[in-house]
Symmetry: C2
Subunit: 663 residues, 2 copies
């Protein structure tokens, strides 16, 4: 079979095999290439990273240190003058997350003044640590005798973020001070609970994944043991009577009703769930324990198949900041917390590393470019806590939040974007995201320099220079996104309305490349040599997505996707009346790059039927109007405006508004 | 001037003089005729009272005694076995309010079994009283040492409802047991605070009005002194640091930021405000203190002129269960707690008695027939906590509430309706409401038997037999409702779109009666004799109300009123598409009594333009459809359905819905 024929056969297959069940899961396929080894030079992402460095992180510092009492609480502990704690019991974590973002930023953009600020904070944090290693300003200021008495009070959540910050800062600067503080915090928890066989359920998961990071940074197995211990505490009723009784959400709210390895249904608070499953995947990988992976796979399918928005956002209800029932995915009231999308990135990265399956990166990419990125304004100083899929002109970004988890979370994610692009195994290289960047991957047999160049996500032409130090035979796995092979998302819930030709092409040094498809990757195995140039072309037509009827709110609606981006219609730049257009399924779309709009975006435009009142206000006339759709992540950067991701294809009923203030 | 000419002159005047400022307010004009002296025999109200007796009160008993632990908390106190309090700290009050409703019911319908149940409860309550008189199951079970440490914990709110129940039960049965318990509770409060010059701000007002009732029942001036003391505690910062600091609503939430006599703006929690002002009016009347009346008049104008819904409901926001800013009167999210409308009835009754001005009864009548009555289902066993003016098909009545203030509140109001019909002064008789009933009013000069007969609110023909024991000269004040003289509500906010002929007529023994208008009353002064028959005819055309533009949500909308009733359109019995009709201002209406609909109502129907999708779903066609409006109080008795009180007169924009589940 010549190459061309083989390719044609393969082209027919990917949609079938892309999500094929992996009958036997092997534990740990790949190691991520750390962002510190990745130099990003990308037209889309580099400006966003710079904005986080120059705007978002200073905002986080200002809010943490000046506007709110978060840093002052640490100073009060050190002063020992009986001053009162201000704010909420989990506010320490915002300091740690800002510090973690700073650590990543210092790697991307070394900055002595910023590092000095970080060192100053670290000194204040260290000075607030108690002689036994305990570190928590809320309990230290309001009564140490009450510590560890209420599982909901986020003591180990705070500790987890301290550990993450400490590891990040140590990795960037080599300075051990905060790492030592964090180690003593972990030691104190270990001796308080695990060593005494005292049961404890963490009310807000986070420490599990952090302890795995601490284990990797220090090499101390006890931290991995403690992470596993935390996982094993759940689902046995140990929290009952202490915290979950009398709380209307109960144990389900924090995934404490079923042991982790037996979990199969997503439930409760979305961020808690994401952090738990990230930690469980980490422990499963480090322990080579398939029990966690099996559970994670089941829960993942429940999330992605039935409980995920098309933006990659999760958690439909604000009342529990989490999940309700399958297919309950309202658009206007969608909660879709920014932190939950960040959690989706974290968890799906782990699942991809464990399985070598690209479907997890498909979800990661969707959450990253849509659900998560929407949380940060283009200006870098305004934030969304929730990210709805429709708005009635009454929702806008905030400068900050009382519970301020989201700003520093999106900051640390953007600054550490390099973590998610490349991975390696002993003898193979993986390319997961299409971000202009270069790195060097060390395989067992030798080093390979990789360089990507593209105008992604606006364009699917990706050039990849593959430069082994010397000629080297290895398989290069290049992810072929699900959306490029007719499958927007794993599962039946969302489908493209038409099966477009999925004519992605791969050429090597100008000629069709020989590859096989494996778990969503095009795998090119050959003797690679210096100067090899791979070209991947992922066509980006405008694709219309329909949801299955079970998602009742989206019946008779379509959503528009182009490349990895979901689009929305924002009234501010459309000439149609508010939410009065329809987008029949046969609508033809035009795309154009507009460098002046929203820092440069590709817009999608179409002529569509638009309804407007007659002059006398007694009837309605239909006209043609121009519909303009913009990337979802870019909405709400021009004041309040109506917005819809899911667009009506037909009219089933009409609501009259008598004025602009109808309520 | 002959009678007819005089009448014609007067007919032109009422609209001008109806709300004329009362330059010099005299304290205490009238005494209400107690409901126990009023026999109601009314086609509209008698069935409602019977339903409360037969259904609502048994539901309250069942919920209080069996389903929830409210009575059990009292039993636990008596057992002294260290059992824990269940429920919320204000749950005792629900027992007392149910008992108060039972007391009124026993007067209307003597029932030995029900009285035995009340006596059983009273024994349990008495057994829970502490040796010093303190009575509160929450603190007694959870730590008496903490009592009176938190002004928000409703200790005196509970005490107030105990006192009201005790006075009601004593008045009905003559039994003193609960009255003695309540007196000792009041004595305990008096000695704990007032006698010790210890400051205390009641977090939820109620005890003030209750103490005035206790004063009247016992004749003991100390209770009136204590009520006045409670009023005087407010507005001096006495609560600061104890409760209001750190609570985001602060002192405004419970009207504690300004001394009561200096208050002029309505603010904070609506029910708290209503109970406070009722108590202040009571104390002002009993003390002959114009300071309270002046403040009450100012606050009243702020409520009625700028912050009241056309249903007589108040409190637009659920977040503080109260007031926001002037003219912020959203329809769908209107809170309009049932209890707040009950409070409007109580307060406006007091204001009327103090001033002799019928405008207060106009507001009372509006709140009673609309905002309050809406809180109770026709079946008597379903309740609204909030009473919005529009619904998207997602709101329905509940069987009960965790905070269960509303069910027993509407029950006690309906059972004591007789309180609001008649009043007297030394030498005059007042008729305030049009309810089929009879009573005997004792004037200084002699007794007068009155008998009303009508089909109100469906019809404005009211017959009133006036039978003095012997011939007697006195003025009979018959309220002429504002709506009958072209003024739906005091103030500029709501106006009828057209000034209909306000041709109300009064005939006496078949001939035009001679009367003068005074403060909203037609005053007929003559030698009354046995067999005199007065006929009042209040025409009831369908009236269209417009709000001023400051109420932005109601621009280009009208509301329909007929008689005292506000109407609404409920989708369930209309053939139009959901919220897709307009009601042009020149719409002609037909009214008809339908005895089979909703226990018998007058419907308002009209042919109006209705929009519907074209068959292909790509456009909209306009047709004529039948709009059916029903009394607001009667909606939500046939399952969930879209509902609107304010109806669009024109289309300003169109919202497309793609399906029935659009969210």
């Amino acid at each position: 079979m010549d190459i061309l024929k083989r390719k044609l056969v393969l082209l027919a297959l990917p949609a079938m095999i892309h999500w094929a069940a992996n009958a036997q899961q092997n534990i740990v396929k790949m190691t991520p290439v750390n962002f510190a080894q990745v130099q990003i030079n990308d037209k889309f992402w580099s400006p966003r990273i710079n904005t986080v460095t120059n705007i978002t992180i200073p905002v986080c510092i200002q809010q943490t240190e000046v506007v709110t009492p978060r840093i002052r609480n640490f100073e009060k502990v050190a002063r020992k003058q009986g001053e009162k704690h201000e704010g909420i019991y989990f506010d320490d974590s915002d300091v740690y997350k800002a510090l973690e973002a700073i650590a990543y930023s210092l790697k991307n953009h070394p900055d002595a003044k910023l590092e000095a600020k970080a060192d100053e904070w670290i000194s204040k944090i260290a000075a607030a640590q108690q002689p036994d290693g305990y570190l928590n300003t809320y309990y230290t200021l309001s009564g140490l005798e009450n510590r560890w008495s209420d599982m909901e009070k986020h003591e180990d959540y705070n500790a987890g973020h301290l550990i993450e910050a400490a590891v990040a800062y140590y990795n960037t600067t080599g300075k051990r001070k905060l790492l030592d503080v964090a180690s003593r915090v972990a030691d104190n928890i270990d001796s308080t609970f695990k060593q005494q066989n005292r049961h404890w359920v963490s009310g807000h998961e986070e420490i599990e994944l952090a302890l795995v990071k601490l284990y990797k940074a220090t090499g101390k197995e006890k931290y991995l043991d403690l992470a596993d211990w935390y996982l094993q505490q759940r689902g046995h009723g140990y929290g009952r009577g202490a915290i979950w009784t009398n709380r209307h959400m109960g144990e389900k709210y924090c995934q404490d009703d079923v042991p982790v390895k037996e979990q199969s249904q997503i439930e409760g608070h979305a961020v808690r769930a994401m952090y738990l499953y990230t930690g469980a995947a980490d422990v499963g990988a480090a322990r080579n324990d398939p029990g966690y992976l099996k559970a994670m796979n089941n829960v993942w399918e429940d999330v992605v198949y039935r409980n995920m928005y098309i933006t990659g956002g999760i958690g439909s209800s604000g009342s529990n900041e989490g999940f309700t029932v399958d297919y309950d995915l309202p658009n206007k009231s969608a909660y879709c917390e920014t932190c939950a999308s960040v959690g989706m990135v974290l968890w799906n990265e782990r699942m991809n590393l464990l399985t070598g399956n690209a479907k997890f990166v498909d979800v990661l990419e969707r959450s990253l470019y849509n659900g998560a990125l929407d949380g940060l304004s283009l200006s870098g100083d305004r934030f969304f806590y929730g990210n709805p899929l429709a708005s009635d002109n009454n929702y806008q970004r905030s400068e900050w939040f009382g519970t301020a988890c989201c700003p520093s979370n999106i900051a640390r994610l953007v600054e550490s974007l390099g973590n998610y692009i490349y991975a390696s195994s002993d003898d193979a290289v993986w390319v997961n995201l299409f971000v202009g960047s270069s790195t060097t991957v060390a395989l067992k047999k030798g080093k390979v320099q990789l360089q990507q160049q593209s105008n992604y996500p606006w364009n699917g032409n990706i050039k990849m220079a593959v430069n082994p130090v010397s000629k080297l035979n290895f398989p290069l796995h290049v992810r072929i996104p699900g959306w490029a092979v007719n499958q927007p998302v794993p599962g039946e819930t969302y489908q493209f309305t038409d099966k477009a030709d999925s004519t992605f092409t791969i050429t090597l040094n100008g000629k069709p490349a020989k590859y096989i498809m494996q778990n969503g990757y095009a795998v090119i195995t050959r003797d690679w040599k210096k100067g090899d140039m791979l070209s991947l072309n992922l066509p980006m037509p405008v694709r219309k997505i329909k949801a299955i009827d079970s998602v009742k709110v989206n019946v008779n609606k379509i959503a528009l996707q182009r490349g990895p981006l979901m689009y929305c219609v924002e009234q501010v730049n459309s000439d149609q009346e508010k939410q009065s257009y329809i987008v029949p399924e046969n609508t033809a779309f035009n795309v154009a790059y507009d460098q002046n709009m929203l820092n440069g975006i590709v817009t999608i435009k179409a002529q569509v039927p638009v309804l407007a009142p007659t002059d006398d206000g007694n009837g309605v006339k239909t006209a043609q109007g121009t519909l303009t759709a913009i990337p979802y992540y870019s909405w709400a950067n021009r004041g309040k405006s109506e917005m819809q991701v899911w667009l009506p294809t037909r009219i089933s009923s009409v609501n009259i508004k008598a004025n602009n203030h109808d309520q």
